[in-house]
Symmetry: C2
Subunit: 325 residues, 2 copies
């Protein structure tokens, strides 16, 4: 590592299932990265201090005094120290105001708060807020009004207004798919006979969800089985069909909630494969003006470290070529 690329920050994304660590240099450039399957539910012996030491101890000893910042479930009640949620509408300043530190052998590790949307049916995020503020750095034109989609086990749809997280919803699409695949009658044929990827079956599921209109997929989930019984779907294709039904229901629901308003600029953030699947699905629903942003998480950690004066703000090094429209 050359002298010119002096490390400036240790940044952690410490979630439920994984722990990712980044050594960031000037402008948020990634100098080194490593990860372990040590999310807070899987941290060996639940010993966060030791996991931290094992993952980033070398960096801390090599560059003493580096500031350290973490986002994600590590700040939850089940994490290292509970950091109270910031409330919607939440700005990056609100997040920074809520920082709390834990003591480590190498100095403080600052933990970011999550965000609470205290609607009648409340919603919470921990980690996604950092990706959202990263996205707003990468694409400042989104600050006024945008809808950011973070697909996953629990998909989050985050509305941004005037630079703040104004509202968000959670769709348990990934978890629903997993429990139905692994534990319901719908997953049994593929469990027994194996999986055969099929974009066509995925699109048939999407269409069935879209055509359900206000009824939703409640009465159509079982078609994953009845199409098989009537030999119009194979066991191998059935999981892609089910995935289409469930992602389709998520999109149908969100688009129904927007119906009377114009759809704000839509941005996908997250795992590239999953984002591509959602982009395909959105297209099937007639929504084609969708961009995908990469590196939003790291960018967000750097931006928030700057806002907290843990590091000196400089123009972000993540070029706009990371943004695909």
């Amino acid at each position: 590592m050359s002298e010119r690329l002096a490390p400036a920050l240790i940044a952690l994304d410490w979630g439920t299932s994984s722990l990712r660590a980044y050594l960031l240099g000037e402008g948020g450039r990634v100098l080194a990265a490593q990860s372990r399957p040590w999310g807070i539910q899987h941290t060996p012996d639940g010993d966060f201090a030791r996991a931290y030491e094992e993952l980033v101890g070398d960096w801390c000893r090599q560059w003493p005094g580096l500031p350290a910042l973490a986002c994600g479930m590590i700040g939850s009640r089940q994490g290292w120290r509970e950091v109270p949620y910031a409330l919607c509408p939440a700005t990056s300043s609100n997040l920074v105001d809520g920082l709390l530190a834990v003591d480590t052998a190498y100095g403080p590790l600052y933990l970011l708060p999550g965000v609470l949307d205290a609607s009648a049916l409340p919603n919470v995020i921990r980690g996604e807020e950092t990706q959202v503020f990263g996205a707003l750095q990468l694409a400042p034109e989104l600050r006024e009004h945008a809808l950011l989609v973070l697909p996953g086990t629990h998909s989050k749809w985050v509305s941004v207004r005037d630079g703040a997280i104004s509202h968000f919803t959670t769709h348990m699409t990934g978890e629903l798919f997993a429990v139905l695949r692994d534990h319901s009658i719908l997953g049994r044929p593929a469990r027994e006979q194996g999986i055969e990827r099929s974009d066509e079956a995925f699109c048939r599921g999407l269409d069935a969800a879209r055509q359900s209109a206000a009824e939703g997929v409640s009465g159509r989930l079982f078609s994953t089985r009845s199409l098989l019984l009537t030999e119009r779907l194979t066991a191998g294709e059935s999981l892609d069909y089910l995935s289409g039904l469930l992602i389709g229901e998520e999109l149908r629901s969100v688009l129904a909630s927007l119906e009377e308003h114009a759809c704000p600029p839509l941005v996908l953030i997250g795992d590239a494969h999953l984002c591509e699947r959602y982009r395909l699905a959105l297209g099937r629903f007639g929504v084609t003006a969708v961009r995908t942003l990469e590196n939003a998480g790291v960018t967000g950690l750097w931006h928030l470290a700057c806002a907290a004066a843990l590091v000196t703000a400089t123009p972000t090094a993540v070029s706009r070529s990371a943004m695909h429209v």
Copy 2:
């Protein structure tokens, strides 16, 4: 058993998880009944002949030559002999025309076909069709037009027109609840801390589903967790809340499909506790003209045995007092 009550029929409801046998006398009166957890997925050694012998062999030996009739999954591909589905619109004559027999040590056991609704998204029933025709015997005024609800693992909503099953849908509400309770993050608090029955939490879930309007519960399932995190629901109550969300989504979906038409007379058939729960739920959706019918399954087996001339038709002995409005 007195001479006057001579047995006339051995009637079986042989489903996926259980096997119920009835010894029926004149008019369909139940002279004796017994059941085993020997549904076709749990029949010891998969030996249907031996299970039949063990359950009803005594009756067969005591009254040789009794006709025997079965409905349910025993007629499926995984059952004793596959009986092809009757097609919608399906009358009781269509069912009888499709009877197939298996040979037993005591003579033929006739197996009823299920029904296939060959819509673009097909649907199938095996066993429920018999309950439906039983219900039409118990309440003949339903024959012209009615919607019969059979709640359960897979709830069936069966439309009847002019004495025939014209259409039906499946809602996997019971199975969805079970997999989410046992395998998802939503069930974990109750799994760890125990269940506390709460009609109030059930109604809150119903209301959340009803108020979701065209959006459906996709973005509201997670409230089972977020209400807990914000201490507005207890772990013990959370499963009744989830049950309300899921049953509510089923009702919301069905009522959305009826919106432009008047709701036909609505009848609940099945397990008394579950029917009561659906009655409560329907009331929460403003649907109060709902009746519950008991003994529809046995009545249906008797009626179809008469239609098949396996027994001599006489007025059904199940009094109309079995019908609660």
